[in-house]
Amino acid sequence: MTLERLDALSVARRAAAEIIPGSVVAVSGDWSIAVADLVREDKGVWFLRAGGTLSDLPINAADAGAILRGGNVDLSIVQAAQVDSRGSFAGYHATDYPGPQGHAGLIDLAGARRVVTVLPHNGADRAPNILDTLTLPPDGFRCVDTIITDVAVFRVADTGLTLTEVAPGWSAEDIRAITGTEVTVAPGLREMDFTVPPGKPPSKVYADGPSAIADLPDGATVFIDGFGGPGGMAHHLLVSLRDRGSRNLTIVSNTAGIARVVSFGTPPGRTAIDHSVLVENGQVAKAIASFPVSPSVSRPSEFELAYRRGEVDLELVPQGTLAERLRAGGAGIEAFYTPTGAGTLIAEGKESRVIDGREYILEHGLRADFALIRAHRADTRGNLVYRGTSRNFNAVMAPGARVTVVEVDQIVQPGELDPEAVVTPGIFVQRIVRRPDGFTGYE
């Protein structure tokens, strides 16, 4: 009697069980894409598809690559043609899409925090697809941690494959007989289960600023948004951080607090809230900024006074380089060459290189523990819309922080923001706070 193999839908159902509510999942290949249809919408999962969508948001190929490399994808479910005993895989390519282009997206998928492959256990000629060594060109090197086939589930470790589950009716010996590499059998070998567990994601909406940054530690690197004036600055979060009192912070921002000394329309008798509230409270150890001090020598900012007293460090960065370093950090690009600053003080101590007759300097990406940003509206999934010129550094900072907290004027339900108008997709936003009624950017 021939043992029955699972159909693609059953494999997809088993793969769907690997998905955590609220997580970001990249899918590629028909078997894998079928998984997305099996996960209930209220599970809050973001599906990144090779065609250029992130759940219902349209995105371009560059952004999709940045999301994958930037460490924002929790799980890739990839349809493979072959997997080896150490977790390298060759992706499945439709026969009408040959050549190296077919590999490009799959190679980025291998950069997810976790990679699961789905594949038929054997090819049309019954040759095993799980092997000691791949015979097809690899798309991912030692990145797969779980293999789900139409007969079994394996966990992958440095020591090789462990069989943990078998399809109904199959034994460990049956599986060994059709597998092209050595297999260890897990002590608790089980039969595969095809129920897709329900679940809801944790809410991203926090009651207020203090609760949203309650775990912001001493010594943290913090992206702080804003261009210079009161627009686009998360004043409520800044005041919350002052009240929390986290110390020894490295702040990354366009300025180091100049709104207080440049009027920018501040009403008479009021003081603008800016980075100064942290500096004067002794919380800042270092600023990485492009416009750190007052434009006027005679009206020095709190930061400049602290700098003159030797209490704070400063890393001065050209504004475009700052923006690109933030982008790179969030997009998984470690460093890049830029012409900006070549031949100036900024280039000192940096690697430089002449390319096509022009001098460039090497600048490194920036990442942070927290980003405190400001947007106009958010939906509860974290999709953001900005207002006017207040988009500037906010949108750039969101992807590169472990925890991005946004302060908005309004929080709406999913569906109320036009996906075409969303600037920051919600996968880059972990916490959402509504700016309290009547709160202004002034004290």
């Binding site: 475009g320 923006a323 690109e324 900006t340 100036t344 010129t389 500037n392 550094f393 750039v396």
Partner: protein, 223 residues
């Protein structure tokens, strides 16, 4: 003595610079005299103003009482909302600059050297300064025009043979417009193109640290 001769005012400098902006070009104006330039560009020439605060096609400043904190230029001034504006992030703002999409930038300066080095971000005696977008503009704009006073408040020439202030960019300036002259930095040195009304080339040289190359056809400052 030429140091006491009458000089052009800031608006005239701006007016002279405005002649350098081709119709349909994308232009970024720095803080100070450069900001004034847009007053002298006629609407017919459809110049697109770029601001690194994240807006393209920005227009006039907001009227009093109409200020919106979410609509500013790079100098922090409030803008009017006008048809045809586009908003974008700082990454895109500087991709436009470094990527060669900004045709002309007009910047102020502390010093410009004979070969076009620019120093405009730090006065050494302060020990700290603001770079902002200046280095990216110096490196990325197709044409960098400096608009400034010829001499500082103490009378020191800001048009120098070599900069001794920290540089913003090397060899990046293509035209210098001051209250005394219009000059073109070249690999051979600073060429005097135009002198202010009433100024002889020799008088311009007297208030200038850089050794000027003076061709036969120095024009009168055209506005």
């Amino acid at each position: 003595m030429s140091a006491d001769k009458e000089r052009l005012d800031r608006a005239i400098i701006a007016m002279r610079v405005a002649r350098e902006l081709p119709a349909g070009s994308c232009v970024n104006l720095g803080i100070g005299i450069p900001t004034l330039v847009s007053m002298f560009v006629d609407d017919e020439s459809v110049v697109f103003y770029h601001s690194e605060s994240g807006v393209l096609n920005c227009g006039p400043l907001a009227e009093e009482g109409e200020e919106d904190i979410d609509l500013i230029n790079a100098g922090g001034q409030f803008l009017q909302s006008v048809p045809g504006m586009a908003y974008f992030s700082s990454v895109d703002a500087f991709a436009m600059i470094r990527g060669g999409h900004v045709d002309v930038t007009v910047l102020g300066a502390h010093q410009v050297s004979a070969n076009g080095d620019l120093a405009n971000w730090m006065l050494p005696e302060r020990g700290v300064g603001n770079i902002g977008g200046a280095m990216d503009l110096a490196a990325g704009a197709d044409k960098v025009i400096v608009a400034m006073e010829h001499n500082d408040r103490s009378g020191n020439s800001k048009v120098v043979q070599e900069c001794d202030f920290p540089l913003t960019g090397r060899g990046c300036v293509s035209l210098v417009v001051t209250d005394v002259a219009v000059m073109e930095p070249t690999p051979d040195g600073m060429v005097l193109r135009e002198a202010a009304p009433g100024w002889t080339p020799a008088e311009v040289q007297e208030v200038t640290d850089a050794r000027l190359i003076i061709p036969d056809n120095v024009a009168e400052y055209e506005v």
